[in-house]
Each structure stands twice: as structure tokens, then as C-alpha cells.
């Protein structure tokens, strides 16, 4: 059972990619409306990655990032992690708080709260789309935020997966503002048992 994710068929991978597409598309629209900028979104990557290689997806384990983490409850428990390189997070705070680009050099309580709210809104939009697609209703926990090394932040989800196997199924989308000033990675990491439930719901 441990590494059943390694045996996903191409059709199943496509279905997951489509879920990522719809979910992240919805999130990108929400973000775009909040900051009033166009957001470009890459085609979601659905990959099965050895646990130790997941931090490489965001630039290596010692890259400085801001992470907003939400636990997802319901029939298909999962984790959501919204990761921004530090400079992107600062720029996003500038926009949200009506400051000049470059004003934010560290995060105070209000800034953190604003970023957590963004994580909340993006997750809500994502899970909503997931619900429309799968009819599985999922509820996010309150968000938690940390600014630290990518490896340390990602370990929170990796440890949970590590109990069940040595690979992570990652549905990941990269967001960009037009000027490339903000880049973010949105991860949906289903718990090991949840994957089957999601795939069953879409009939593949």
C-alpha cells in the first residue's frame, strides 16, 4: 500500500492535473481581484516526487520562503501549503497594505495576518473548485504562517507522508504577476488515503 501513488495511470494523472487547473485557476482569479493585477498561471505540475526532493521544487531546502499552511478536513483530508519566496511575500504585502514597492522589509503582525488571509482566500477558492469537480466537500483549518527555510516548512507535510511511504504526490501551480514581481507556489498534498477517494469521485 505504501507507494501506490507510484502506479497512477496517465488518465489518472490527467484528472489530477485538471483538478489542479480548475482549483488554481479559481485561486488565481481571487488573488488577481484582491491585488488588482493580472496573474499568470502555469499548467499545474502533477508529480510524484521522492520526499527528499520536494524542497528542490521551490529552490532548495535552505531557500528563504514564507509559507501559509492549512490543514484540509473532510472526506479526503489533505494539506495546503502556499509558498512565496521572501521577496515575493514582501511585495505582496506592499500591495495589500497600500505601501510602495520595497517598503516592507520584515513582517509585522498585521502583515502576517494579511498573508494568512490571502492563504485562506486562495484555499477557499481552490477547494470550492475541487468541490464542483468531485462533489467532495472539504473544509480548511485556520491558516498558520511561518517565514523560514523551505525545507523546514515543507517538512511539516513531508513528515505526515513519510509515515506511509517515501514519495509525495504534489499538485503544484506556480503563480506570477505580469511584472514577475510576485511568484508563488500553491501545493495541494493529499493524505495517502485521500488520493483514492478523489480519483473515485471523478471516475478514473
Amino acid at each position: 500500500m505504501s507507494d501506490d501513488i507510484a502506479s497512477l495511470s496517465p488518465v489518472q494523472m490527467d484528472a489530477l492535473r485538471e483538478i489542479g487547473n480548475v482549483g488554481a485557476g479559481n485561486s488565481a482569479t481571487a488573488l488577481s481581484q484582491i491585488i488588482n493585477r493580472r496573474i499568470d498561471m502555469d499548467v499545474p505540475r502533477v508529480s510524484i516526487v521522492p520526499l527528499e526532493e520536494v524542497p528542490e521544487l521551490v529552490g532548495g531546502p535552505d531557500t528563504m520562503v514564507v509559507g501559509v499552511f492549512l490543514r484540509v478536513y473532510g472526506k479526503a483530508p489533505s494539506n495546503i501549503l502556499f509558498l512565496l519566496p521572501r521577496d515575493s511575500a514582501f511585495y505582496l504585502v506592499d500591495m495589500l497594505m497600500g505601501k510602495k514597492h520595497g517598503d516592507t522589509q520584515k513582517l509585522d503582525f498585521m502583515d502576517e495576518s494579511a498573508l494568512m488571509e490571502i492563504g485562506n482566500i486562495l484555499s477557499g477558492a481552490y477547494l470550492n473548485a475541487l468541490f464542483n469537480f468531485t462533489n467532495i466537500s472539504l473544509l480548511p483549518s485556520i491558516p498558520a504562517l511561518a517565514m523560514d527555510m523551505a525545507g523546514a516548512i515543507l517538512s511539516v507535510v513531508l513528515v505526515q507522508l513519510g509515515q506511509m511511504g517515501d514519495h509525495a504526490l504534489v499538485i503544484e501551480t506556480e503563480f506570477k504577476t505580469e511584472d514577475d514581481g510576485i511568484k508563488g507556489h500553491f501545493f495541494l498534498v493529499p493524505d495517502p488515503g485521500s488520493l483514492e477517494i478523489i480519483l473515485q469521485a471523478v471516475g478514473v
Binding site: 507507494d3 527555510m149 523546514a152 516548512i153 517538512s155 513528515v159 505526515q160 509515515q163 506511509m164 517515501d166
Partner: protein
């Protein structure tokens, strides 16, 4: 020139002076070093979980404190390290996100630290340096030339243990 040897998550590396063993971005994971000061042989292990017997997937023995420490110890002895001279240092075991209703898995850092020390004690290997807990990430390295174990953080300073 000393070689800088990278130790990934759920892995360990062994070596001898002048190698430097380094592991980046530990959160709830723990970096455990074993070092024989006389032969200058040592190893660094990066574990994720406390106990292999409580996991459904335990093929990768370096993922767990119990099996990882024992495997690394065996390899060090086969290289010529002497068990009675070995000293251990460890760092990591943070809780990165604070939740009010933190589940067991959120507190895995604490359990990792406790399990590591328990296993070292059962093997009669003294822990001579420790920097565990907190809510921040750490990059750790051990210099096999002198056994100095360095802990680097983003904004909590750097230290040697």
C-alpha cells in the same frame, strides 16, 4: 580542501577528517551526529520520524531515529571508529506551525528529539551537545576535523554545540 558532503532528508553520510557533513533546512527533523574524536571518523543522520515500528513504510531505515542511529553506528564501527569513544550531538525538532489544537503529528519534533536521546542512551553514547525545539528551521553541519557542530538559523543566530 575539506569536502562538503550534503546529507539529504531521511539519509545519513559518514566520513573522516577533513570532511564537513551538512544538512540543510531541518524543521521537525533532527540532525544527529556521531563522532570519534581520536580517529576523527563521524557521521550525520537526518531523521524524520521517531519510531520505525509505528510506520507503515519502514524500508528506508534512515528515515527513523531507531533504525537510522543503529545503521550509522554500524557503518562508523566498520570504518574504524570505536564505540566507547563516540559522542553524539543533535539539533532540530522544531514545531514550525503553532496550532491551538496541535495534533500528535504537529508535535513530531518533540517526539523525534525524545526518541533520539532514548536510543542514544540505550546504546550508551553520551549526548554532549543539543539544540532542539523552538519554531524555526536549522541548517546543521559537523566538521570532522574537530567535531564542532554548527547550527545556522535565519534570524535566531548561529551557534556551535
Amino acid at each position: 580542501m575539506p569536502d562538503l558532503v550534503k546529507v539529504g532528508m531521511a539519509d545519513y553520510k559518514v566520513g573522516r577528517a577533513p570532511d564537513i557533513l551538512i544538512s540543510y533546512g531541518l524543521g521537525s527533523c533532527i540532525g544527529i551526529s556521531l563522532y570519534d574524536p581520536q580517529t576523527k571518523i563521524g557521521g550525520l543522520l537526518h531523521i524524520m520520524l521517531p519510531d520505525s515500528s509505528k510506520s507503515r513504510s519502514n524500508e528506508n531505515r534512515a528515515k527513523f531515529a531507531d533504525t537510522g542511529i543503529k545503521d550509522m553506528l554500524q557503518e562508523l564501527i566498520s570504518m574504524g571508529a570505536v564505540k566507547s569513544r563516540l559522542v553524539a550531538k543533535l539539533a532540530g525538532g522544531a514545531q514550525m506551525f503553532a496550532f491551538a489544537n496541535a495534533s500528535d503529528i504537529m508535535r513530531v519534533g518533540l517526539r523525534n528529539a525524545a526518541a533520539s536521546k532514548e536510543i542514544l542512551a540505550s546504546l550508551s553514547i553520551p549526548v554532549v551537545g543539543e539544540d532542539t525545539g523552538g519554531n524555526y528551521g536549522r541548517t546543521v553541519q559537523i566538521d570532522l576535523a574537530n567535531g564542532v557542530y554548527k547550527v545556522k538559523t535565519i534570524d535566531k543566530g548561529d551557534k556551535e554545540i
